[in-house]
């Protein structure tokens, strides 16, 4: 800080405008008004010079070496990663799965399917073929009656066959008697 002497006092009504003038923050009209005043007022001019001498020095920043900024950046990036990791902590539960559990689960599923197909082959029909519908009692009774009538038809057919056999035998015996000489007429 170069100045050790007290700052000059400015005209009270211009003091705020001079501060803004120093920072270049006043409007064009204000700037013109201040500059016109500065041309005639030594105190305000010295006040402004003092601001120019004092304020920049107060703003002097300590220059940090590049290594500091490299380290700063690395640390910040690491902290950001850590913060994100904490925010999505539940992802870590699934993290091991990504490497080995997915193929392991896939292999196990295929193995279970194969075992099921091999050992459950007999039972598979149960699932594939539909079970026969249950026949009502009335129909079952009719079914038995049907069988009965069928058996009766069969007996009748047998009877007819037997009659045919008898007739055939009778014809044969008649022809034999007729063929013998001196046979009985």
């Amino acid at each position: 800080m170069k100045k050790s002497a007290p700052l000059e006092t400015a005209c009270r009504q211009y003091e705020e405008d001079l501060v803004l003038h120093y920072y270049g923050e006043n409007s064009d009209a204000e700037r013109r008004r201040v500059e016109e005043h500065l041309a005639t007022c030594d105190c305000c001019r010295r006040f402004l010079e003092d601001l120019h001498g004092l304020l920049p020095q107060m703003a002097d920043a300590k220059e940090m070496p590049q290594t500091f900024w490299d380290s700063y950046y690395r640390e910040t990036v690491a902290k950001l990663a850590e913060q994100e990791e904490r925010k999505y902590w539940w992802r870590s539960l699934f993290k091991p799965m990504r490497t080995w559990m997915v193929p392991a689960f896939g292999t196990a599923a295929v193995a279970v399917l194969i075992v099921g197909l091999v050992f459950g082959k007999g039972n598979l029909r149960l699932f594939v073929e539909p079970r026969p519908e249950r026949i009502p009692q009335e129909i079952l009774a009719d079914e038995k009656q049907l069988e009965f009538f069928e058996s009766m038809d069969m007996l009748e057919a047998l009877g007819k066959l037997e009659n045919q056999d008898d007739q055939t035998e009778a014809l044969n015996s008649d022809s034999k008697h007729a063929a013998l000489p001196g046979g009985v007429a």
Binding site: M1, V19, Y23
Partner: protein, 185 residues
């Protein structure tokens, strides 16, 4: 790539884009924190915390203001919170840390005579003390405008106040600093 684009991509979860913003603003963030705390490590921690908070709350950033004014507000709020917790800001000296080489501590040119340096040192201490005891809004406005070079419009956005109010804060801060040096010698 512009800030707006980087912010938009970061909001979609692209941390790499936010890391570019970190690199872009880390020096400014650090210097703001250092101006408030006057401590290298604390400034580093606070400014890094500001990046973490910004990233965590990035979805709340609606783009109505520029990213840096929004981010500066986070830094300033963290610094003020820190000062509140510590009850006092470490504004012991503008001479930085004691382990700093003497030639770096010298704000003025090397042709300064020892007595002038002593006077300048005393002036700096007065300035520090004034800044320390200054109302925090005045100090914030002064530091952002004088030390960080923000325009009064941007300071107003950071502080969520009007430009007129910032002008008043700035003038009062400069007036207080001037007063401290008027009494000097």
């Amino acid at each position: 790539m512009r800030d707006e684009e980087l912010v938009a991509l970061s909001q979609q979860g692209d941390r790499h884009c936010f890391e570019i913003l970190v690199r872009r603003y880390m020096e400014k963030a650090y210097h703001i924190a250092f101006n408030f705390t006057r401590d290298t490590e604390t400034a580093k921690d606070l400014s890094q915390d500001a990046f973490l908070r910004a990233y965590a709350n990035l979805k709340q950033f609606d783009g109505r203001s520029s990213f840096y004014t929004w981010f500066y507000r986070i830094v300033v709020n963290l610094c003020l919170d820190h000062a509140r917790r510590r009850r006092r800001v470490a504004w012991e000296s503008l001479d930085y840390t004691s382990d700093e080489p003497a030639e770096q501590r010298q704000l003025a040119d090397s042709t300064y005579a020892p007595d002038q340096q002593a006077i300048a040192g005393e002036a700096k201490r007065r300035v520090d003390k004034t800044l320390e005891t200054m109302p925090k809004k005045q100090r914030t406005a002064f530091l952002l405008r004088n030390h960080q070079g923000l325009s009064i419009a941007d300071v107003a956005k950071v502080m969520k106040t009007t430009e007129g109010t910032v002008r008043v804060y700035l003038h009062r801060a400069v007036a207080a600093l001037r007063q401290s040096l008027v009494e000097f010698v």
